[in-house]
Amino acid sequence: MDPSRKRAIRLTVALSAALLLVTALIYVSFSAGRDELTASQLLAKARPGGQYILAGTVLDGSVHQQGTTLYFSVRDPKLKVAVPVRYTGIVPDPFAPGRAVLVNVTDQNGTFIGQQNSLTTKCPSKYQAASGSLNS
């Protein structure tokens, strides 16, 4: 086979594989992804029984533990709004007031229940800025 034709075929195959990969990537990203909601967005969009990902900062003074259940509030990054969460499961060591967290929650008639072991926290920050107070 003519070498230039061989090269053209190889290039076509390679580009097709790349296109397939990109298409699959875009599809999986949009289909498997779930919206991260801030506290204000969650309060606006939440419906009973719905499952959401709540993202925000742990509100200062909101954390207390009763038995194996952890209670805390997640504040909105921009608005002075916070959502109370009830969570059971292993609490990551970096969890603390003022730390940014992600937690999967289910709306049980207005009470947000954290999915067990879904809580993730930012690392102990070398670069941490503001605390998690509603006043700051």
Partner: protein
């Protein structure tokens, strides 16, 4: 001392600017004395940064809390080892470490190439000084490690307990060494493009630095994974977190580079590809730093927003645009005359491997950045968790492992049927036997991807062992040495090849460990009282007793678990959660010692060659709440009643007067802590049984060993004796016009 330290940083910045100017002037005007001066500016920068770093270390060792970084990340109770390593736990100190390492590695490469690459090195010097100067400028203007306060505290806040782990202390220097070493081939690549000297010289002279970057960065990544597994209390070693991915992407790129440069060296091919790869790797190294320091993504590692995001975006913009611009400008000169002769050739396998690695980089980049991409497109951040990586990374990893076995066996240029038969029979047979054994003797058949990784890993191991055996046999035939001596001599004479084979062996072992631990792990969340048991994967975990310790710096609540397999006692696990005193006054005088939000877990781990047994406890302190509240009230009342008298005293008198009060407080805290142990409450455990985890660490050690072997300089005597039989001598590349 603070002013002196800042002066050193400012002087360093001036030296960078001078060095850039001198190097560029010298190369443009053909004034070698200016080029030499530019190179010496790099040495001077290294010297200044060494002094600056020593100053910072002295401040930490002396507990000089007038320095903000010392007050924020150290204290009098921190062990000396962590005081030595605490400087880089802060933004400011880590920037200084970056400049230090960058200047040291740059000095080394410029010293080694001082009589070579005369037209490339000055441009490389300018680029290296530019990058070092960038980080120096950040330290001078945005995050000064020598900033001081006129009202220093009596003690510092201490190092975060999670960072008080040996892995976490070596992890940053390893990563930064990898990133700064990656800047060297990047800089020489830019220099080659600007100067038009597009042959393989710059690659030969910087190849070791690319390999060193690969080694350091890889070690840093594994140390982070080890820390995650043994410290963070979630039972995993890799979470596809944004900053984990940020370090992995440049590592994958430079892995591709150290393979594909062999094709350029041997056959003069893939020049555009190689220069693009190394520019991409260097850019990704800075991109990773940007992700960590800007907090642009939410992740368990992406630290809170800082002021450094914008400068990094500017630097990345300059790097990307100049890289693309220069490659486009030189694309005609970079074209190779040679082509891949056959898809069944080592060149083709290297190219496939490169494509797979780049595809992996793209996948990781896309999914990591997807929250930002989706926010830009739809206005909402979309979270795509670790499961999104699996459908792409697993098949790509399988292909990579297969190529790691095929590559060393297949011929250059064109493989013949005889070559394929001779080289592949044993490894393929070994892989088939492994497949049969795995399916027949284990229950792994339900996890086809894991089985595929076991089989391909076995193929790689067999191919490496075959090559080592053949090489040693051939050596023995010549020298009549004993096997061990012949083996050592073989490796010494071709460290690059056999170091590479060793690294391939390590990767196979590591990925076998990953496949086993991720596919066959069993875990369970349980709540147990002392005496109760839970079963996980055939193991019985019995909660024996609680533990509780009150120490000056922390209180620890833990548990002892006995683990049985059937009736056989396998191990005893001890796990605990340490609580460090909070600084929040609202917690109360007693309550601040029981703040569960400033905690650090110690996992109970029994590592084995076949299985790891792992546990972590989440102590329940609620039953102690009444005592804590009583203690808070009692001690606060006592302090209030003495406040009037204390107000009339000097600080020294107050401290003396309050000493018995604090002792009584400590006794009260200890008493509450003891109650936890003597009145045990139900607590929550995470129990995990995970197979083959240890092979991840063993594989990583083998990979590192392979890297060290490949990196080790060949003795001159051996170099003189060894004829260059494996090199195709190319005509010298025509020199292109330099850029105006």
């Amino acid at each position: 001392m603070g002013l002196f330290g800042r002066a050193l940083l400012i002087l360093g910045l001036v030296v960078c600017i001078y060095g850039i100017g001198a190097s560029l002037y010298g190369v443009r005007r053909r004034r070698p004395e200016w080029v030499d001066s530019g190179r010496r500016a790099v040495y001077a920068l290294a010297g200044l940064m060494v002094i600056a770093f020593v100053l910072l270390e002295v401040a930490f060792q002396r507990n000089d809390f007038s320095f903000n970084v010392v007050a924020q990340t150290s204290s009098t109770t921190i062990p000396t080892f962590y005081k030595l390593t605490a400087p880089w736990s802060s933004q400011q100190g880590s920037l200084l470490l970056w400049v230090l390492l960058s200047s040291l590695w740059s000095s080394l490469v410029l010293f080694l190439t001082r009589r070579r690459l005369r037209e490339i090195a000055p441009y490389a010097t300018a680029v290296l000084l530019g990058m070092a100067g960038f980080f120096d400028a950040l330290a001078v203007f945005a995050a000064n490690p020598f900033a001081q306060t006129s009202n220093p505290p009596s003690n510092g806040a201490g190092l975060d307990p999670l960072l008080q782990h040996p892995s976490m202390m070596f992890h940053p220097p390893m990563l930064y060494s990898g990133y700064t070493l990656m800047a060297i081939p990047f800089a020489f690549g830019i220099g080659a493009l600007i100067s038009g000297r597009l042959g393989s010289d710059w690659i030969r002279d910087t190849r070791r630095f690319a390999l060193a970057a690969w080694l350091f960065l890889g070690v840093g990544i594994v140390l982070g994974a080890r820390w995650s597994y043994t410290e963070l209390g979630w039972g995993g070693y890799w979470g596809w977190d944004a900053v984990e991915n940020a370090a992995l992407m440049p590592w994958l790129c430079v892995t591709a580079f150290i393979h594909s440069i062999q094709i350029q060296e041997k056959r003069g091919m893939l020049r555009v590809w190689n220069v693009s790869l190394i520019l991409l790797a260097g850019t990704l190294a800075i991109f990773g730093t940007f992700l960590v320091r800007s907090g642009v993504l939410d992740s368990i590692h992406a630290f809170g927003a800082s002021t450094l995001g914008v400068p990094f975006v500017v630097l990345l913009g300059v790097m990307i645009s100049s890289s693309i611009g220069l490659i486009l400008l030189r694309r005609n000169s970079l074209r190779s005359e040679h082509r891949i002769d056959s898809l069944l050739s080592r060149e083709a396998m290297f190219l496939f491997q490169n494509l797979v690695l780049v595809a992996m980089v793209f996948v990781i980049f896309w999914i990591t950045m997807f929250p930002l991409i989706s926010e830009a497109i739809t206005g909402t951040k979309v979270s795509v968790g670790p499961p999104a990586f699996t459908p792409f990374v697993v098949p790509l990893a399988l292909i990579l492992v297969a190529l790691a076995g095929i590559g060393p066996l297949i011929s250059w240029r064109r493989a013949t049927a005889a070559n394929l038969r001779r080289n592949f029979t044993f490894p393929v047979a070994f892989a088939v036997v492994t497949l049969i054994a795995v399916l027949a003797l284990t229950g792994a058949g339900s996890k086809p991807f894991a089985v595929a990784m076991f089989v391909l890993g076995a193929f790689v191991i067999a191919s490496v062992l075959q090559e080592l055996y053949r090489g040693t046999s051939a050596r023995r035939a010549i020298t009549k040495d004993a096997w061990p001596l012949a083996f050592v001599s073989l490796v010494r004479r071709n460290r690059r090849r056999y170091g590479g084979y060793t690294a391939h062996l390590g990767i196979a072992v590591l990925l076998i460990g990953v496949a086993g631990s991720s596919s066959f792990q069993h875990s369970r969340d349980v709540t147990l009282r002392p005496g109760q048991s839970a079963r996980v994967d055939g193991y019985t975990f019995r909660y024996v007793k609680p533990t509780a310790v009150a120490l000056p710096s922390k209180v620890e609540f833990g548990a002892v678990l006995a683990v049985y397999h059937g009736r056989t006692h396998v191990t005893t696990l001890r796990t605990s959660r340490a609580l460090y005193p909070s600084t929040d006054a609202s917690d109360g005088i007693i309550g601040r010692f029981f703040d569960n939000t400033n905690a650090d877990s110690t996992v109970g781990l029994r590592a084995g060659l076949t299985k790891d047994i792992w546990t972590v406890v989440s102590p329940n302190l609620t039953p102690l709440g009444g005592l804590i509240t009583q203690g808070n009230q009692y001690f606060q009342a006592a302090l209030n009643s003495a406040s009037a008298k204390l107000a009339k005293m000097t600080t020294a008198q107050q401290n003396a007067a309050l000493a018995p009060f604090w002792q009584a407080r400590d006794i009260a805290v200890a008493g509450i802590v003891r109650r936890y142990a003597t009145h045990p409450f139900p607590v929550e455990f995470l129990l995990i049984v995970s197979p083959l985890v240890s092979w991840i660490w063993i594989g990583a050690i083998i990979v590192a060993l392979g890297g060290l072997i490949a990196l080790w300089p060949v003795p001159r005597l051996v170099r003189r004796r060894t004829p260059r039989l494996d090199r195709v001598t190319l005509a010298p590349e025509p020199r292109e016009r330099e850029l105006v």
